[in-house]
Amino acid sequence: MAPNRRAVALWASGLSVALVASVIAAVTIGPADIRADEVLASISARLGVGESPLSLLRDGIVWELRLPRVLTAAAVGAGLAIAGTVMQAITRNPLADPYLLGLSSGASLGAVSVLLLGAAIVLPLAAFFGAMLALGLTLLLASSLGAITPTRTVLAGLAVSSLASAITSLVIFWTVTGDSYRQILGWLLGSLAGARWPAVAIAVAGILIAGIPILLRSRVLDAFAFGDVTAASLGVNVSATRWGLLAASALLTGAMVSVSGAIGFVGLILPHAVRLIVGSAHRVLLPMVAIVGAIFLIWADTAARTLFDPRELPVGIVTAIIGAPIFAALLARRRSLT
């Protein structure tokens, strides 16, 4: 099942086209009917080519509401999928994922804490520190249970995640009045309802700052397949690489969570799915998983905002409904790793 270069190139170009098509298609979907050609014309008008055929209101819907939301979904999906891929490789744990190991909840807590202090500008940074803290706690807890196994790490992540979520709820509950339940759900389950252009900027910046260094280490990630000792014997500085890449994953998670809250399972299931198609060489796997993650979250979020129109689901519910059964299946298949 070695995918040859031509098959990989076909998949890569096919999925890239699918990503662009998904962005445009998702923007057309919603209460106000807007056709794909109108979306394209509106976008090119903004880029200085031609004039928008849409009324000011409908043009606003495309440019101020739907497009930034769809682009945020794409960036967050890509970011979480990359973070999950890296964590699975570096911890040799097929169950590793920023959500399951508590990073997302830690990031939520960090973000919520500074948000209420009124320091929105440092939101991604606070989310990063929250994610790092949660990761440290999870690994500490997992190692205190004995040898670090995948299942122990997930259990430790569950404990850390529950604690961080509880504190997040408490903080919001105490400080915010009115619509606080909705806000709590948004941070705990993940929601892209509030995503505007600043969210796009933060998510894309996260991918550029953390994602490119990760891509440049893709061959090193391959070396971890046979464990630390083999990686070291292949000339890899194991501890520096591990902590550097885990920090990059936390940064990526922090940036994504600060705009979307804690969306689960994207980082868990997509790496497994994409490995089945293109194999496990990270030089190919990482860009592909990013594209598939983007497409996946665009459609998950489109479902979240349209399925029960006019009410909107947090997108994390959609990803959990899809992801939780797959997680259970992975757990069953990896029984031997407990």
């Binding site: 099942m1 070695a2 397949a225 070291a232 496990s280």
Partner: protein, 269 residues
């Protein structure tokens, strides 16, 4: 500790001096000196728990000893840049396994890592080394197979090919014959002997004493974290030494065809 017999070693290869390794408070390796000459297959033998695996990791420079020095052809291994070191020394771990689905070629290609830039190196030369390494271990027809569908002996040969793809001058292996059928064991050891004859320094930890005796040129015997004997296999593995180290009775014969030792073991009478 008996003196090292280095009289037969005319080419220096791997040299370790005064190695001490601690795991927590416990001293695992307690002042080890040993030598692995270029062009020979050296067996690292000793009872379970003697510290063979720990010693091998230190000799492969993946485990930093508390004190002591490891050098290859007079270059200190721990002082070398990591990538350059990985082009000199290759290490095959005991029971190396992966949960990642990889093809045989992908596994062998890992051995090219010390030669690659960040974006990898798909150069024809590099691919040629990978193909040659697979041919050397006679696994060419398995190139596109999934690693986890192979038998134990086939996996061991693929891991050996990965090590060979590093184009090392020193090859270290931890129990390369573990869990293998006798035929696969002999195939691996025969291969190691040919690699050594081709100019490599090869050190393999082996728990099967008769097998070590019939295949190795030199032997390093460790017990309780110390080297208790070392030198050419035939002169070193004596009945007295085997009785002291393993607490078993041994008769050592010489195979008239190969001039190698044949060891027959029995319980202490």
């Amino acid at each position: 500790m008996t003196g090292l017999d280095v009289s037969g070693f005319d080419v220096t290869g791997l040299e370790a001096a005064r190695l001490r390794i601690r795991a927590g408070a416990k001293l695992i390796i307690d002042g080890v000196d040993c030598t692995v000459p270029v062009g020979s297959l050296t067996a690292l033998v000793g009872p379970n728990g003697a510290g063979k695996s720990t010693l091998l990791r230190a000799l492969a420079a993946v485990l930093k000893p508390e004190s002591g020095a490891v050098s290859f052809e007079s270059t200190e291994l721990f002082g070398m840049p990591r990538r350059e070191r990985a082009r000199t020394v290759a290490f095959v771990e005991q029971d190396a396994a992966t949960t990642t689905a990889m093809t045989v070629t992908e596994v062998v290609r890992l051995g090219r890592l010390p030669y690659e830039s960040a974006w990898g190196d798909g150069s024809a030369d590099s691919e040629r080394v990978v193909v040659d390494a697979l041919a050397t271990v006679e696994m060419t027809e398995f190139a596109e197979r999934d690693f986890d569908t192979l038998s134990g002996g086939e996996r061991q040969r693929v891991l050996l090919a990965r090590a060979l793809a590093q184009q090392p001058r020193l090859l270290l292996l931890d129990e390369p014959t573990n869990h293998l059928d006798i035929g696969a064991q002999l195939a691996v050891l025969g291969l190691l002997r040919r690699l050594a004859a081709g100019g490599m320094a090869v050190l393999a930890a082996l728990h099967d004493l008769p097998l070590a005796a019939s295949y190795s040129d030199h032997v390093v015997v460790v017990s309780g974290g110390r080297v208790v004997a070392a030198g050419p296999t035939a002169q070193t593995l004596t009945p007295a030494l085997i009785r002291t180290v393993y607490a078993v009775e041994a008769t050592v014969l010489s195979n008239p065809a190969t001039k190698k030792s044949v060891i027959v073991l029995s319980e202490l009478g």
